[in-house]
């Protein structure tokens, strides 16, 4: 990552050129949208040229050609222009979709649905990669990254609002509209499950890490056990918890009263807690023991009390590492909570598995896309927070290496 701008002034930015060419190929080669007369009939995939005609497709290709041309000679000003162009394209994607929908859909069919084709997804993906690449090349900080995300989100929201009648046939929107209440509940359940598991694992994990610091044997046994749990596939762990929990629910009155069943939130919560403990304990343990003896010595030498040492030295040094543990745990739990829908825990996974069962792919998207967004958001937010609090590297972003 250190090899960049100053090492090679001349020569095309081959990455952006390659990405633009790939985007062009996607635009011409695969379907941009799918059109179906109703929910049951599978859609007809349509390429850009089939909807917008040759001239329309050529017009649509112009910005991508311009992007490749700008990257051909990577001077600073041209790369900045390319960044602006890629950002504008990404922001305009839903508007283009609405336009294609208006062209392709027969207004006489009110039940008609507009599906998203592979070209749409590829364009989204490739443009995001162009932005990431240009951000690195132009040495833009994380603030610029957040700004770009905000701009895209704003533009998409505004497009959805202004062109709502054109975007109404969007199958994803239709799936949402008929179960908007269930969707809200699912998001809430998902967040509750993740928040509960991460919160509980933070408390329990800290306690375990503290106990491990007292005894080496406990440390070894604990890590072995937690590693074992982490290795077992989620579906299997949910399954293994099902039988004992069903037994407990049938035989222990107060657990039954609490709502513990073989199926439901109980196995999901326990499994998520089990998976969360390893990263949490590992990081808390490192955080607790990672503060160098010399630093503590110096703090005590300065006349700090035990409490002062904890609050002013240990905690600030440990916090970024603990936050890193929370980040890993949260991202992992968001994904695993989706699997929990299989054991009846609710959450967004319900839509995924319902959709897979009915071969209704837009319903699958309704579950999978928010999960993806949640995971990315949690990763970015908690990562930024831990970097901000980290005393050593508060300037350097991008944790790869």
């Amino acid at each position: 990552m250190r090899v960049s701008a100053h090492a090679r002034a001349p020569g095309a930015n081959r990455v952006v050129v390659a990405l633009s060419v790939a985007a062009l190929l996607a635009l011409w080669g695969v379907a941009a949208i799918g059109v179906a007369p109703n929910r049951i009939v599978p859609g007809t995939p349509l390429k850009l040229a089939e909807v917008a005609g040759w001239y329309g497709a050529l017009l649509g290709s112009l910005p991508l050609l311009a992007l490749a041309a700008l990257a051909w000679r990577p001077e600073l000003a041209r790369l900045k222009l390319a960044l602006g162009l890629a950002l504008a394209l990404l922001m305009a994607l839903p508007a283009g979709l609405a336009l294609l929908g208006a062209l392709a859909l027969d207004p006489a069919l009110p039940q008609a649905r507009l599906g998203l084709g592979p070209a749409f997804w590829l364009l989204l993906f490739l443009l995001a990669l162009v932005l990431i690449e240009l951000r690195t090349r132009l040495w833009l900080g994380s603030l610029a990254g957040w700004g770009m995300v905000a701009a895209v989100a704003l533009a998409w929201g505004a497009t959805g609002w202004v062109l709502s009648s054109w975007l109404a046939p969007l199958a994803l929107w239709q799936e949402y509209r008929v179960r908007s209440e269930a969707f809200g509940t699912a998001v809430l359940y998902h967040l509750l499950l993740v928040g509960g598991a991460v919160g509980a694992s933070l408390v329990l994990g800290t306690a375990i890490a503290l106990a491990m610091r007292r005894s080496r044997r406990l440390e070894r046994a604990g890590f072995t056990l937690l590693n074992l749990v982490q290795t077992i596939p989620s579906l299997a762990l949910f399954g293994l918890l099902l039988a004992p929990l069903a037994w407990l629910a049938a035989n222990v009155g107060w657990l039954h009263a609490l709502g513990v069943r073989g199926i439901g939130w109980a196995p999901a919560f326990l499994a998520l807690l089990g998976y969360s403990l390893l990263p949490m304990v590992r990081n808390t343990f490192v955080a607790l023991s990672g503060v160098e003896a010399g630093v503590l010595e110096a703090a005590r030498g300065m006349g700090m009390s035990r409490a002062q040492v904890f609050w002013q030295v240990r905690l600030p040094l440990a916090l970024p590492v603990v936050l890193e543990g929370i980040r890993i745990t949260t991202v992992q739990a968001i994904g695993l909570a989706a699997v929990a829908a299989l054991v009846g825990a609710g959450g967004l996974g319900t839509f995924i598995f319902q959709g897979l069962g009915q071969a209704a792919m837009d319903l699958v998207l309704l579950g999978a896309l928010p999960i993806l967004a949640m995971a990315l958001a949690a990763d970015a937010l908690l990562g930024a927070l831990s970097r901000r609090l980290s005393p050593q590297e508060n300037r350097s972003h991008g944790g790869a290496g």
């Binding site: 930015n13 990455v15 077992i232 199926i263 999960i371």
Partner: protein, 253 residues
């Protein structure tokens, strides 16, 4: 540590953990029917307590086949891609590939599997492709970390000895990076075993199938059979990797 023990016995002892898991796995997969009374006790109401649709050995074989095809392709493509972007010719692509490999691991495997199905359709191949795509990321990431983390002095020395670029890659870089690469492969395979089980929800017939069928039909015995076998499979493979890593030196996680 094993200086008192004859060398071949010592070698076998070191593989004890994976061998124990493997024999338990095979024993259970072959002889689940012997445990019928136990499962009757678990699920007293049901007439059928052993998963009827497919022999457990066959399900295990299918599970392993999907995981190993996907993992093998992921290793070839992942290591290949990482080597390519660390050579002078492909160096332009290094920052993007590195960032994407670390960012992509944020994607939950379930979501990747779920998104692959609309694009690729139902069946075995879509699952293999989804596993392959997801399994690439830790391998690319770790191979990059391993290759980029080599000391400059080592590379200098190799160059000074008159080694060609390909000799340096095959005799110096890859062997030195091997422990870190292996750690990436381990992560990839572990996730693939778990995600392949989820493939049962999109119609794959593997060890996930008894679990799904058990949940749908309310038969805890089926669920237990699938869950125990998948758990054992994961533990067996993971402990074998741990052994391999220890054989190569310190695990680079």
């Amino acid at each position: 540590m094993t200086s008192e023990v004859p060398p071949d016995v010592g070698r076998l002892m070191r593989w004890r953990a994976p061998l124990v898991w493997l024999s338990l796995l095979m024993l259970l997969a072959a002889g689940m029917a012997w445990l019928t009374p136990l499962f009757h006790w678990v699920e007293p109401g049901a007439r059928q307590v052993i998963y009827p649709h497919g022999d457990f050995l066959v399900l295990l074989g299918r599970h392993l086949l999907v995981v190993s095809v996907a993992s093998l392709l992921a290793v070839l493509l992942g290591v290949g891609a990482a080597v390519l972007v660390t050579r002078p010719a492909g160096r332009d692509f290094l920052p993007l590939v590195a960032q994407f490999a670390s960012m992509g691991q944020t994607f939950p495997p379930v979501a990747v599997l779920a998104l692959a199905v609309p694009v690729l359709g139902f069946g075995t191949w879509p699952i293999i492709v989804a596993l392959l795509l997801y399994g690439l990321l830790p391998i690319v990431r770790n191979t990059l970390a391993g290759l980029e983390g080599l000391e400059a002095g080592v590379m200098e020395a190799a160059r000074g000895m008159g080694m060609s670029a390909s000799q340096r890659l095959l005799q110096v870089e890859l062997p030195l990076a091997a422990p870190v690469i292996l750690a990436g492969i381990r992560t990839s395979v572990t996730v693939n075993i778990a995600t392949a089980a989820l493939g049962a929800t999109v119609g794959a017939s593997n060890l996930g199938a008894p679990i799904i069928s058990g949940i749908v039909n309310g038969n805890t015995a089926y669920v237990l059979q699938g869950a125990v076998l998948i758990g054992l499979l994961a533990l067996c493979v993971d402990s074998a990797f741990e052994r391999l890593q220890r054989g190569l030196g310190h695990p680079g996680r």
